[in-house]
């Protein structure tokens, strides 16, 4: 078991390396630099800036330095926010994005499993059809359509909730962004739960248990254990999708999370900020996949046997 965990961890290393190298060289290939302003700086000033930030060194040297700094947890200075390191910026944005992501994940899992389970139990009935339709719609509604609709409905017409802003993460400011972020994932989880629970309920062991007269609650618990394995496997990609989705949600709702820093950094060619974000998000995705793998391993005796 421990050996397996270590192996998975070791497997994550090349992924992380590709992420770091990919983002580093992509940004350096870019035409235009971080100091290209509307009014060009004098060449001497450009040279000085380049020297201070180490941009005059050959690329491999720069990459080596970046890796060495990264190993120390130093993501370098931000090019566009003076006096602030990338690590500081991300440390500011991370709590926002994580709060958002965690709440959305929670909502997606509870609501998705609940609705999907209901649909599987009432298979073919109106509840099933309604959930199926709702899930298809949720999966097809882009967040940038949902968000303005929610804003206009709950913010401008009903005036129940603020339209945008963070205000230290007050619950009222969180409702709409979390809803927007979670909606497609609720659909995805509900569909998967329905399909896999319906299959489990029709499978031999469950039919046997039923024919032996076990109470429906116990039968369901048994079927759910097996049926939720694919949902656990989905948790990794789900977390990644939430991190990605938060880029749009943070932009629309004006939340100071890492997604917004990323978009701003990309538009300003703030190399270090963009790389820092990609590395951080990449690390999180790798971590979530790892966690989902381990969770699946813990929950599924078949996988443990194979390992």
């Amino acid at each position: 078991m421990i050996g397996l965990v270590l192996r998975r961890l070791a497997e994550a290393v090349p992924t992380l390396f590709v992420i770091v190298a990919g983002s580093f060289f992509l940004m350096r290939l870019a035409p235009g630099g971080p100091f290209d302003l509307e009014r060009p700086l004098p060449p001497a000033a450009m040279e000085n800036l380049a020297r201070v930030y180490g941009l005059d060194q050959p690329l491999p040297v720069q990459f080596g330095r970046y890796l060495a700094a990264l190993a120390r947890g130093d993501l370098g200075p931000s090019f566009s926010y003076r006096d602030l390191g990338v690590a500081d910026l991300l440390a500011r944005g991370l709590p926002v994005s994580l709060t958002l992501g965690a709440l959305a994940l929670l909502l997606a899992l509870t609501l998705g499993i609940g609705l999907g389970g209901l649909a599987a139990l009432r298979r073919g009935g109106p509840a099933d059809r309604l959930v199926g339709l709702g899930a298809a719609l949720a999966l097809s509604l882009p967040s940038f359509v949902v968000a303005p609709l929610l804003q206009i409905a709950f913010g401008l017409s009903l005036r129940w909730l603020p339209v945008s802003g963070w205000e230290g993460g007050s619950p009222a400011h969180l409702v709409l962004p979390v809803l927007t972020l979670a909606l497609p994932q609720v659909g995805a989880v509900a569909r998967l739960t329905r399909a896999s629970l319906a299959e489990a309920l029709a499978a031999q062991p469950v039919r046997t248990m039923r024919s032996l007269g076990l109470p429906p609650g116990r039968v369901l618990r048994h079927a759910l254990r097996g049926a939720l394995l694919p949902v656990i496997a989905l948790a990794g990609p789900l977390a990644a999708a939430l991190l990605t989705g938060s880029v749009v949600v943070e932009t629309i709702f004006g939340l100071p999370g890492i997604g917004r820093y990323f978009v701003e950094g990309a538009l300003n060619r703030d190399y270090t900020l963009v790389m820092g974000t990609v590395v951080l998000v990449g690390a999180f995705v790798v971590l979530f996949n790892l966690a989902a793998d381990l969770l699946a391993l813990w929950a599924d005796p078949r996988l443990r046997q194979a390992a």
């Binding site: 497997e11 994550a12 090349p14 992924t15 590709v18 992420i19 990919g22 983002s23 992509l26 940004m27 290939l29 870019a30 035409p31 298979r123 073919g124 298809a136 719609l137 999966l139 097809s140 509604l141 882009p142 940038f144 359509v145 968000a147 303005p148 609709l149 804003q151 206009i152 401008l156 399909a195 319906a198 990644a240 991190l243 990605t244 880029v247 749009v248 932009t251 629309i252 990323f262 978009v263 990309a266 538009l267 060619r269 963009v274 974000t277 990609v278 998000v281 990449g282 995705v285 790798v286 996949n289």
Partner: protein, 362 residues
Amino acid sequence: MSARPLGRFLRDRGARAALAVLALVTLACLIGPHLTGHAPERAYPDLRQLPAGLAAEPSPERLRAALDRIAFRMRARVEAASVSDGTLRLALAADAPIDRRSLVYLPRSDLVGPPRVVAAEDGDRRLAVEAPVRRLHFLLGTDVHGRDLLTRSLVAGRVSLLIGLTATLAALAIGVAYGAVSGYAGGAVDALMMRAVDVLYALPFVFFVIVLVVVFRPGLGLVLFAIAAVEWLDMARIVRGQAQALARRDFVRAARALGLGARAILARHIVPNALGPIAVAATLIVPRVILTESFLSFLGLGVQEPATSWGVLVAEGARSIESAPHMLAAPAVFLVATLVALNTLGDRLADALDPRGGGRRG
């Protein structure tokens, strides 16, 4: 697809509805812009942010407002203006003689046709002018520049659908070739190839796409490339699984024993037999591509003006949602209808191909 799954698929009401929606949207996007009577770039500065409706424009109030504006530019005042039988009768007055050449401002507004001076008094200080009033229809209203939203949504749909199809085809080509080779080869080659896919899979790809788009200038080609570069991974995994299973089947072993080369086996036996799952995966990639494109365009990183796509229009609509909610509604309805139809189509295709007889929908 053999005859029975195809029949099952065509008998499915959901599948037929999805096909109908798709055909309708595609057809509308292809020929619609020629029928709306407006060029997509044609802006009517006097008819900005009109709501959707069947009424002919310009309405009397809007015409009057526009006439006041035009008269001001002609250094004249509107004394009286009336419309009857589609003809505008306009009385203009000014302190100095009105330059008749400035009457050209009237047709330039695109609201009325060529004007004709019917009477002049006071040495052209007072002019009576007649001009035919145009009857313009904006079924879905106009945008912030006064451009017809229906035409723009349809033209945008061309771009979105084109990106959806091309990027999917590219992903299809790469993914099928990669997956088939990997699955058929097996062993160390397979392990290495799939390990590479796993590594790429774990990347936060949308972030990379955004970096790509920022690094090189945003535009259609780059959006296409970036999306195709992401979407082939799923296809490769699916085809690889199929190829792996097929490679062990007797007819493939027989083909190999008969001396058929790997390339021929892949082309004649592996890929054709995996077409069902490939078709399902491809159908589901199209909406993802369209969604990714509109996501990028929404952030301002995708298709750039003057070209447009549903994502661009939705972004414009979201920006003016308080003053003109129809600007979001029009493109969003097209986008969502297309996405729902494509997703439904993929699901129903998968059901029809399911050998258990479409049992997933019991």
